[in-house]
Amino acid sequence: MTTTIDPENLPFISETSVSVEIETEGMTLNIGPQHPSTHGVLRLVAKVDGEQIFNVEPVLGYMHRGYEKLAEVRTYPQITTLVNRIDWVSGFSNEIPFIAATEKLMEVEVPERAKYIRLILTEMARIASHFVFNGAYPLEIGALTPLFYAMEDRERVLDLIESVTGGRFHPNFNRIGGVKPAAGAGPATKKDIQDLPAGFYQETRDSMETILKACDKFEDLVGGNEVFIARTKNIGVLPSEVASAYGVSGPILRASGVKFDLRSTTDYLPYKDFDYEIPTGENGDCYDRWFVRLQEIRESAKIVLQAIDAVPSGPLQAKVPKIIKVPEGECYVRAENPKGEMGYHLISEGGLGPYRLKIRTASFSNISVLPWLLEGVLIPDLLAIMGSFDFVLGDVDR
């Protein structure tokens, strides 16, 4: 349901034609690691003339935990616990590409039921991540109430994830070869099967209904508001060539008009069995980036609704040795993370842990385009554009 006010012919309130006659020397403003709206510890050193910025230089590394080095001293089951802490807003979907890469190297066939459960939980993680964006972005622009409504709806999805996996942010539910089969390895705990709990289907259907209603509420409350449109329309327009040259992926690339979604091209999860559209924006400004993510919540809710009815029965995990040694080989698997393309380049030399694990995160490339995009922009727009990129510092600094 598009908004009642069609975005084309609503004229832009004002254009920022700030003509500088008075010669004022620039000021370097540290939008520093400690700032209310840098989504974490990102520091922007901005050369500012009055309110207009003419050069922004992000300083990274405040959140660098050195995951690629840690991965080399960990065994494969331990890395999944490490990896879902990269983008902590969408916990579950970080593990998927790594597990898929290991399974590909070990040539393990994942049972259907495990694939469907993984798909349902990934789409729920996407809904949770996009709700955080839906709550935090209006906050950047000054509206305080959408945050509370977004967090309330997100609570529903997190409770569902917790009822299945036990953890809300860091579910750690994926095992190589499938999903966590049982609570333990002893005679009694082996029988405590970690399958979907009773009443899960009914609860998910109710939650998805309320989430679809919440999306319409957000469309009126945030998208319809003229002040929001004035603050986000035609601001931070990112052409698609620049986006792909910098490796910007995910909702931001789709907002620039590129209809490219890794869910439909690679088959790391059975997305082919469901029909869903890929929302794209027209002119790649902040409004489109916000609107594409709102549509994606709707699509994910639809996918989950279809997926619950079609979950096949069967084992939860394929036959996998207790001590996992991945045979020699090298492969790169990428997945559609809520923030963009997340990929793992896994080089294994047959040891207990990988020889080298390159983690390609979405937000790192997404914000590498910011210095180009923030030339000559006013400070409030800097925050509107940065907010629309929905990055998480763990994702950026790894």
Binding site: P36, G142, T145, N225, V227, F228, R231, P380
Partner: protein, 326 residues
């Protein structure tokens, strides 16, 4: 009664009413916004949170009042006083009934506009003297915004003055009583909207709260203030809200007058009616605060200079023509 005693009583009454009204509006805003966001708001303070503002006042008084080393000490210390004085000054001309008024100035509206532009100095000095880039930008934004919205505020009121043919607020309310219909219906509806928009900008409330833009400027010119100085800013913000809504209801909604009630007891129901109308207006402003994002300051200037001022000039023209015709 000698003038001194009368003056002392009046100042005493105002010194009691103004903070009480500010605390009442604070609790309405905090509890109201909490319920709007489906959370209970402050609960454990006492009486299910209703005495929260008193707790806050005490908290701010006993908090340490930090003055940054590089700040311009004397200017930094005096900044909150300017705003406090300008906001208190406005109480002089608000009529709770034809006699219940500090002083019914002939040039009431003129006095009103002069005093209300005094707070700009307070905000600018606060921003400039805190030796902090963010508060300096907040101060400059505030100065530009307050000056830009001074004009529509004044031009909107001129329409009312033409229609009521007097500048004294009691006279304006009497004119509305004689017209039988409050001015907001009798031709001054547009002026009322302009006045409310300009008043929101004067009070630096959302959607015009760029000077205290939390997500951009940390908290604008208030960044370096703490302790009792921050309390002065905080209380004067809510007194400003009360005063502006009181003036709006006096000029446009008929102040202490209600058509049905008998005129003799105006001294009794007058203040209640005035406070009722003021709190209604304040409630609308509170609802606006929690459902709007924030403008960018160049959009804000555009709205002031390109929409509000031409509109208010047109309104004056129409009122003048109507005055001549009827």
């Amino acid at each position: 009664m000698s003038f001194g005693l009368e003056l002392a009583i009046k100042v005493g009454v105002i010194a009691a009413i103004a903070p009480a009204m500010a605390l009442a509006l604070t609790i309405i805003e905090i509890k109201g916004s909490a319920y709007m966001q489906r959370r209970p708001g402050p609960l454990h303070v006492g009486l299910r949170g209703l005495i929260f503002p008193i707790a806050e006042v005490i908290k701010f008084i006993q908090k340490e009042d930090i003055i940054p080393t590089k700040a311009d000490k004397s200017v930094f210390k005096w900044a909150p006083a300017y705003i406090f004085i300008s906001v208190f000054g406005l109480f002089v001309i608000i009529p709770a009934s034809p006699t219940l008024i500090v002083r019914d100035l002939e040039l009431g509206v003129f006095y009103l506009m002069a005093i209300s532009s005094f707070s700009t100095i307070g905000v600018l000095t606060a921003g400039w003297s805190s030796a902090n880039k963010y508060s300096m930008m907040g101060g400059l934004r505030a100065a530009a915004q307050l000056i830009a919205y001074e004009l529509p505020l004044i031009l909107a009121v001129i329409g009312v003055v033409i229609q009521a043919e007097t500048m004294s607020l009691v006279g304006i309310v009497e004119a509305q009583k004689e017209w039988g219909v409050p001015f907001v219906i009798a031709g001054q509806g547009v002026a009322f909207v302009i006045f409310m928009v300009a008043a929101t900008a004067e009070m630096m409330r959302v959607p015009f709260d760029m000077p205290i833009g939390e997500s951009e400027l940390v908290s604008g010119f208030l960044t370096e203030y703490s302790g009792i100085r921050f309390l002065l800013f905080y209380i004067s913000e809510y007194i400003n809200l009360f005063v502006m809504c009181a003036i709006a209801s006096t000029l446009f909604l008929g102040g202490y007058h209600i058509p049905l009630l008998p005129v003799e007891w105006v001294n009794f129901y007058g203040p209640l009616v005035l406070i009722g109308k003021t709190f209604a207006l304040a409630a609308i402003l509170i609802l606006i605060r929690w459902s709007f994002p924030r403008f960018r300051e160049d959009q804000l200037q555009n709205i002031a200079w390109k929409i509000l001022i031409p509109l208010s000039l047109a309104n004056i023209l129409v009122t003048a023509v109507m005055k001549v015709v009827f």
